[in-house]
């Protein structure tokens, strides 16, 4: 199969102002510090592929996901959906084809709406009759394993956590999207419910060929669901490659540190990396991991390593020339 990108981000960055720019700041031309949440990142998701985006909180993974779903406009760089560059003027055209599932369904579903209306809301612009919408609602609900006749007029508060997340998934797939961003969809769920939702997501992926960007901090979940994984650290992608390869032979020292810090039922002795996640307002010079890296060299402190191919994967580290 030829890899055909569904969505591509090219050198995208998203900067935020660290404080509000008020009248005084404008008059006196005070500099407001800038948070570089995502800094010159490339990422591609191919048709029918599951890419896991893994990183710790504050590394920019959610911001990147929001840019890919047009909820956030990149400060620089471009995002290409099936060969077409997205911009302010045409982004609404892509919205039916790109969907998003959030972490907490209790917050992302309107508590006052009936489930039928929640699920068919993305179809609003398609000028469908009520009967057509109802049949699409019924289909979507059966795909996620819920009985539509029991749920059509219930509200999110009547459901359990697992059921709510199923409804959020039904809402995401009802418009038959080509690309779905899942932002920590299972981290609010109990272990047994988490596996039900993961099984469901895999089934939908296999049956309909949706491409997923699965944002998570849970390594075991990333390993289960993804074909390819991208590791983010402080606004940068530091390593990306086939999941099995990255998980068993991590190249970047940060990936190595991250994997050795994850508790598993195989490994009792955790060896966490020293130090704190760096500030994004004033990131370290050169490689952003260098203050915490056990293999730090002179070049790491001054020059930022680019993401380069090395043995079938891409890694941004001076150790691999």
């Amino acid at each position: 199969m030829v890899d055909e990108p569904v969505i591509e981000a090219k050198q995208v960055s998203r900067y935020f102002l660290a404080a509000k720019k008020g009248l005084l700041e404008s008059i006196f031309r005070r500099e407001i510090p800038i948070v570089r949440a995502v800094d010159n990142v490339d990422i591609t998701v191919n048709r029918g592929e599951v890419v896991a985006l893994v990183g710790e909180s504050g590394c920019g993974k959610t911001t990147l996901g929001r840019m890919l779903t047009t909820l956030e406009t990149p400060t620089s760089g471009e995002i290409i959906f099936k060969g077409e560059t997205m911009n302010e003027h045409n982004k609404s055209r892509f919205r039916g084809k790109i969907q998003l599932v959030f972490q907490n369904p209790l917050e992302s579903l309107d508590p006052r709406m009936a489930l039928r209306d929640i699920v068919v809301e993305p179809l609003e612009r398609m000028n469908l009759t009520s009967a057509e919408k109802t049949s699409m609602f019924e289909n979507a609900l059966s795909y996620v394993g819920l009985e539509s006749r029991n749920f059509a007029y219930r509200r999110p508060s009547d459901l359990s956590g697992g059921q709510r997340q199923r409804v959020a998934v039904a809402r995401a797939i009802v418009s038959n999207p080509e690309f779905v961003v899942l932002d920590e969809p299972t981290s609010a769920l109990d272990a047994s419910v988490q596996s039900q939702v993961l099984n469901l997501l895999v089934k939908l992926h296999k049956n309909f060929g949706f491409a997923y960007l699965f944002i998570t901090h849970n390594i075991a979940v990333a390993r289960y669901i993804s074909d390819r994984v991208a590791i983010m650290y402080a606004g940068k992608v530091v390593e990306t490659g086939p999941t099995a390869q990255v998980m068993t032979h991590p190249k970047h020292p940060y990936t190595q540190a991250l994997l050795s810090a994850v508790p598993t039922t195989e490994n009792k002795d955790l060896t966490p990396p020293v130090g704190e996640v760096p500030s994004l307002i004033n990131p370290p010079s050169g490689c952003r991991f260098h203050p915490r890296c056990p293999y730090v060299m002179e070049v790491c402190k001054t020059t930022e390593p680019p993401l380069r191919m090395s043995e079938g994967e891409e890694v941004a580290c001076w150790l691999y020339k």
């Binding site: 272990a191 993961l198 075991a220 669901i225 508790p263």
Partner: protein
């Protein structure tokens, strides 16, 4: 018999037939049902279960911080030789500082937002000194605070001491709280999902630190979590709770490698270990029971793949099997 009595003398915590009831508008909800548990000195025990299993209620009942609508309906808790239920308010305050220290899931609520870290930590030091009859002058106190922050791997402890809680990250606050616990040197540390707000690398640091403390000071740990992998990293012994009852209790290694109770088996099997191309993940059918009206017989029977006639009507007792106790008819009874 002698082995048993020495064990009891060395127990830091003994929970005997404990039942906790919440009064709700729908009726009485029994969150913990006739629970028996002993934790020895220097032992690290993890309580594992899903939401609603009563594991947090158990932790809160030991420090007597249950909400107003909760009631100790049966049994008792003996912590370090004291009957927790009968303590007067003054003794309770003393107990919370010296015998037991609790770390909560959300560290932001654990600190006073308008006081500097230094002053709040100094309070912990003062409490300990009052208890031990030592004195706390500012200078040696300051040194000890810096030392305790260093031991939780906090960078720039001198700077941190002069900050307010809102100036620190979640991981930093959680480490300040743990450092305070360190200063108090409690006999039992109760931690209720202390790392779920933290990133994996910080989580690993915190878990490692608690493990070190347990070894160095002989502190006992009761660690409440829903994550089996974390339980494996922190504990010597695991207690699996389901619907207010302990269903299995045994050494960590044995439970993880060969769980006996069907619920424990399902819980451990549901950890994703493979890739999606190798097949579906194991799930537990059904949903957690309604505790207002718990199922008859074994509380897990409606979701159990090995359910038998008697599971529906009779409630199984603990059975000793392979060095642990398990509440299941599959192993006799």
């Amino acid at each position: 018999m002698t082995a048993q009595s020495t064990e009891l003398q060395h127990a830091t915590l003994q929970v005997h037939d404990l039942s906790i009831v919440y009064k709700t508008i729908y009726g009485e909800l029994k969150a913990v049902n006739k629970l028996n548990l002993t934790i020895g000195r220097g032992e690290s025990v993890a309580v594992v279960g899903e939401s609603g299993s009563g594991k947090s209620t158990l932790g809160l009942s030991i420090v007597r911080l249950l909400p107003g609508n909760a009631r100790y309906s049966e049994g008792g808790i003996n912590l370090d030789g004291q009957d927790v239920e009968k303590l007067k308010d003054r003794d309770l305050t003393r107990m919370r500082g010296s015998s037991v220290f609790m770390i909560f899931q959300d560290p932001l609520n654990a600190l006073n937002p308008v006081k500097r870290i230094k002053d709040q930590m100094f309070e912990a030091l003062k409490t300990r000194n009052e208890r031990e009859g030592g004195s706390a002058d500012k200078e040696s106190g300051q040194r000890e605070l810096v030392e305790s922050l260093r031991s939780v791997r906090m960078p720039d402890p001198e700077l941190i001491l002069n900050r307010f809680p809102h100036q620190l990250s979640g991981g930093q606050i959680q480490r300040v709280v743990i450092a305070m616990g360190l200063l108090m040197r409690p006999k039992l540390l109760i931690a209720d999902e202390p790392t779920s707000a933290l990133d994996v690398t910080i989580q690993a640091q915190v878990l490692k630190l608690m493990r070190d403390l347990q070894r160095e000071y002989g502190m006992s740990i009761l660690f409440v979590t829903h994550d089996i992998s974390i339980a494996y990293a922190i504990s010597d012994r695991i207690i699996v709770m389901y619907a207010g009852e302990i269903v299995e209790d045994g050494s960590t290694e044995k439970i993880i490698r060969k769980p006996l109770h069907p619920y424990a088996q399902a819980l451990i099997a549901s950890i994703p270990k493979k890739s999606k191309d190798q097949g579906d993940l194991t799930t537990i059918s059904g949903s957690t029971p309604n505790m207002l009206n718990p199922p008859s017989g074994c509380r897990f029977h409606s979701r159990c793949p090995f359910v038998m006639e008697k599971c529906i009507t009779n409630s199984p007792n603990f059975i000793e099997n392979d060095d642990r106790r398990v509440r299941c008819f599959l192993y006799g009874g």
